[in-house]
């Protein structure tokens, strides 16, 4: 057992030893802080340099009094405190250009426009400004490891993007690499899948903040080579499926002088929480979503070319994992109406790669979308006026030959009608002027099975007209441009009770042709309409409403005027009614399985061809569109012309084609009311 005195000795010794070691450790800490404060060494060396370079006694005096202290630039407006200047002491002194780092003055002329007291250093250079230790602030070995990556000098222009990079503004940015990258970005159509600052596609991730992502946000498990952000992007551009498995992004095999600037631009995308006085005006507008509207062709180039190609050629379904329809295809352009195009753009194709571009999703205004849809028409053959067709001359026998190979497949040999109405009808030809016929042939009837035949030459068109005229039996009524006056409200009820049974509730056509059709009403004069309604068409269910009384209802001229007035002013529904041309779906199913399933998929899901069992597609495509597509096919793609047949595909009769359409139509479960039609 220990005595009190022994305890005292023990504990006093222990306390004394602890106190001494504490004092030693405090001393060690102080020394270590001194040694690790390399900034002090730098500042002392700099002070010596200043003293040496002093050119006057006054300068020498102030140089000797150069304070050794922590220097920092604190900017609350952008919430930064940068202590880089504690080591980089000579940064603002232009005389120090010849010194090594960190004493050297800032290179170039940028500092004049970007004074450090307003911008700090990390805004451009990245890194951790608050730290005083080199490894923690701007580590040279692993710059990307910092949670705010230190931007290496070869990628420094990407930081300019924070304030200067406006993607949608056509004005050039003053940084050459960034400008190049911006042009490549716009040209390659990245915005078709990726959104930047609200505008763009929704298939891929939003790139608005790509520049502020730290290293941790990237998955490097399949990236070889240097583990830096730039390298990740490089590999990703070259083979996205390899770096991000499951990605639908195509590879971009760009040459280095385009790839590097593109990477710079992508790394220069920041959503910028900076106050607006730091940003350029185009960028402020973009961030606020009020930049100038894109016009049609530019819009197509920005948003659509990545998938649809700059020439509208699309991507072949047979060879690519994700096929894309060819928009420039002649048959497609002649069959698809403007409504179809705009509907598809706005609604997209649910479940497929074509996303919805409606305003709330893409932030493109409706007029911009309309312009883009309009820009697609540059692949459509232009309209030819009657005068130029007349000048080309004509020949009846040629016309018969053209008719036989082009029109007979729907209108029947001699125009007696097969799938489509008989155009050899005497009453029709009596009322239809050359102008009417030409407009109908060249423009087609949108949303019906009548395509636009602008691909025919002037001479062919003239010959067709001559042939059609030769079928005429009754004398021609001269065309007059007088407009009738009528009560459209009364005409509405008359139409609904009398005409809609055959011509469809919305005039989309059923037993009778589509008469509330924009193209038809534009081509037909009031006289044409009056004559047709009043006298009817012989040998067809259309009887003359003023001459023949059916169902006890005989119309007087005023009634007909009312109907015509209604037709001229009838409002369009906000969806596309399916229209005429259906048959028995059960037989259609058999045909589909036998002929179509191989490419379009067993359930129409689209294998090596576009998906047909798609609500948006069925909402855009009327029965007429389907009929015309099946009948004519798409020349230049694997879709054959089932109306004419070929060595590999048999010819389908009109009723067979109608049965197919009925079966396809049976997949439609919802009626999509679209902004495109309002």
């Amino acid at each position: 057992m220990v005595t009190e005195a022994q305890y005292m000795r023990w504990y006093r010794a222990a306390a004394g030893a602890a106190a001494c070691s504490f004092l030693c450790l405090v001393g060690i800490t102080i020394l270590r802080e001194e040694r690790q404060n390399t900034w002090k060494d730098y500042q002392e060396a700099y002070r010596d340099t200043l003293t040496r370079r002093a050119s006057s006694a006054l300068q020498e005096q102030s140089a000797m009094e150069y304070p050794i202290e922590v220097r920092q630039i604190s900017i609350p407006a952008i919430q930064r405190t940068d202590r880089c200047v504690s080591c980089h002491v000579g940064i603002e002194d232009a005389r120090m250009r010849d010194l090594p780092l960190p004493y050297r003055s800032h290179s170039g002329i940028l500092l004049a426009a970007h004074p450090p007291e307003r911008f700090g250093c990390t805004v451009c250079h990245g890194g951790i400004g608050q730290s005083l230790d080199r490894n923690e602030s701007c580590s040279a070995d692993q710059p990307d490891q910092l949670h705010v990556p230190f931007v290496s000098l070869h990628a420094i222009e990407s930081s300019c993007g924070r304030c200067h990079l406006a993607i949608f503004d056509t004005a050039s940015v003053s940084m050459p690499t960034l400008l190049r990258g911006k042009l490549v970005f716009r040209r390659e159509g990245c915005l078709g899948c990726h959104r930047v600052r609200g505008k763009g596609g929704s298939v891929g991730p939003d790139l608005t903040n790509e520049g502020s992502k730290s290293l941790r946000a990237f998955d490097f498990s399949r990236v070889s080579g240097p583990q830096t952000i730039s390298n990740w992007m490089r590999r990703h551009f070259m083979d996205p499926g390899e770096v991000s498995p499951g990605s639908g992004m195509p590879g971009f095999a760009l040459p280095n002088e385009e790839l590097e600037p593109l990477i710079m631009v992508v790394r220069g995308l920041f959503s910028s929480s900076f106050p607006p006085e730091y940003l350029t005006l185009p960028l402020v507008k973009e961030l606020k979503g009020v930049s100038a509207p894109v016009e049609g062709r530019e819009g197509f180039a920005l948003f659509c070319v990545a998938c649809h190609g700059p020439e509208g050629r699309g991507r072949e379904y047979a060879t690519h994992q994700f096929g894309v329809p060819a928009l420039a295809n002649e048959d497609f352009q002649s069959v698809a109406s403007d409504d179809y195009m705009l509907f598809t753009i706005i609604e997209g194709r649910g479940g497929r790669m074509m996303a919805s571009w409606s305003s709330t999703v893409s932030h493109l205004q409706k007029q911009e979308l309309r312009d883009i849809a309009g820009a697609l028409r540059r692949w459509k053959s232009p309209f030819r006026p009657l005068a130029s067709v007349r000048r080309a001359g004509s020949s009846r026998s040629e016309g018969e030959e053209v008719f036989g190979r082009t029109c007979a497949v729907c209108h029947g040999i001699n125009g007696d009608g097969d799938l489509a109405k008989g155009i050899s009808n005497a009453d029709f030809l009596a009322l239809a002027s050359d102008r009417f016929l030409l407009e109908t042939i060249v423009k087609g009837r949108s949303n019906t099975a009548m395509p636009a035949w602008g691909r025919l030459t002037d001479r062919e068109l003239g010959s067709l007209l001559a042939f059609l005229r030769s079928l005429q039996t009754k004398p021609v009524q001269p065309e007059s441009a007088t407009r009738v006056q009528g009560d459209s409200v009364r005409g509405d009820s008359l139409y609904y009770s009398l005409c809609s049974r055959c011509h469809g509730r919305y005039g989309e056509g059923d037993l009778g042709p589509a008469i509330l059709n924009g193209d038809f009403l534009a081509a037909a004069t009031d006289g044409f309409l009056f004559g047709t309604i009043a006298r009817g068409r012989e040998h067809t269910p259309m009887f003359g409403w003023t001459s023949q009384a059916r169902a006890g209802k005989k119309l007087i001229a005023a009634d007909v005027n009312d109907v015509i007035a209604f037709m001229r002013t009838a409002p369009r529904p906000d969806f596309l009614p399916a229209g005429a041309g259906t048959g028995n779906p059960a037989s259609g199913e058999k045909l589909f399985r036998e002929l179509c399933a191989e490419c379009h998929g067993e359930a129409g899901g689209g294998k090596k061809a576009p998906a047909l069992h798609n609500q948006e597609f069925l909402g855009a495509a009327t029965n007429g569109y389907l009929l015309a597509t099946i009948t004519l096919g798409r020349r230049g793609t694997p879709m054959p012309s089932w109306g004419t047949g070929s060595p590999r595909h048999r010819r389908l009769t009109a009723s067979e084609r109608k049965e197919l359409v009925a079966f396809i139509r049976s997949w439609q479960t919802v009626v999509i009311r679209s902004d495109a039609l309002r």
Partner: protein, 485 residues
Amino acid sequence: MPKPGHIIRQNVGASLSSILAVLRRVRTERTSVRERSRSVSKNFFLHMHSTRTHLYSLRPGFTLGLGFLSFSLFLILLCTGVLLMVYYVPSVEHAYGSVKDISTVVTGGRTIRNIHRWGAHGMVAVVVLHLARVLFTSAYTGTRRVNWMVGILLLCMTILFSFSGYLLPWDQLAFWAVTIASNIVASTRELTDLAGITAVVDPGGFVRRLLLGGDSVGQDALTRFYLLHVVILPITTIVLIGVHFWRIRKSDGLAIPAGGDDLVLKAQGIIDPVALEEAKLRREHTVLSWPTTLWAEGSVLLTALALLMLSAILVDAPLLAPADVSMPENPAKSPWYFLGVQELVSYSAFTGGVLVPLLLLVAVVAVPFVDREEKGAGSWFGGQQGKRVVIRSALVAFFLTIGIMTIAIGVGWQWTRNAPAVVALIANPGSFLATLYAIWSWWVLRSTSSTKMGVFALVSCCLIGGIIITIVGIWLRGPNWEFVW
């Protein structure tokens, strides 16, 4: 009438001599016994001690100085904490920056922060060890029962302190650790969901909401944690420490073995029984607290300071990237003292998060009520039997825990997902281990017919088991909480 100058000189001289008298008193060899005892009773701080201390309790190997070590650490943490408060800003936008500034620019800031952090971790460990020491020397019996409860309260305060301070740097580590831990608190929901009464009764959710000031970790949570850490907990802890020390005095100092007096006097050479009694009356087995006890405690304080200083130099307190709500850490781990709980929670939220900790708390609080044996109090393990029981329990717990954890890790989580929720609640490592420890200690209790041995067995099992699952949580769990070896 004496001249004014003379009066002034006299007064100044008198004041000087009274000041110097204080200094003179420091030289202990020259003071009398009376002066020494008076200095303890007249001084506010020294009055915390009883005037005399038993020689036995000064033995370093007896108490290991753990109690005073905890208190020293608390004092050091208090001082470094106050210094940190000068620069720290408890707002979500500025917290990280202010801590970064402390580590980089503030003079000595890095050291102070390191001391604070390692002191905090050390305090949690030391307090647990102090609990183990008090338990294994049976220093909770008789009048010391109340003090045991106060000590448990202090343990809870320590853990709350560490937990509330963990969030303050607002970096990735802090944010996700607190997110995980606060969700563990809410794990009563597993039970109330089964019973379908969560909408009405949700104690875990209530506590979570109270802690966080909402449903997620944000500014409200930071404010509340800061309030806890610098106001509520310090005041409560200081009051409790005062009560703790006062209770020690009321129980006549630290617990010593029954024959402690005799041991000391015999070592001093007094053997004759009559002389022994007389020596006891003259209190020759005790010493005056001033200066011996004070030097003993002072050496503990200084040793703690030196060790913390050393750790501050060797290892820097971590500061990861600023908290980012969209980028969870993988794996997101709570502070190390909760990792054992988190490991159990990964099998069953309720059992691991609520039931097992609650049972542990109840068991520990109930110890002085279960074990009322006075025999063997004050000595380590109460004799040879105790030593055997503890070693055996430790071995049993070691193999049982490793065995059950191996099975649980091998089986994985598949079967808990496919089995009905009630089964998962009942059959998981937490409940298995708790049951097995209980069975083992019950068996020890019956076979030795001693509640003390039962208690020793249970606590040894819990300690060893807790250490093992904490090790698993710290080092053997990697990304996606997968087992890494």
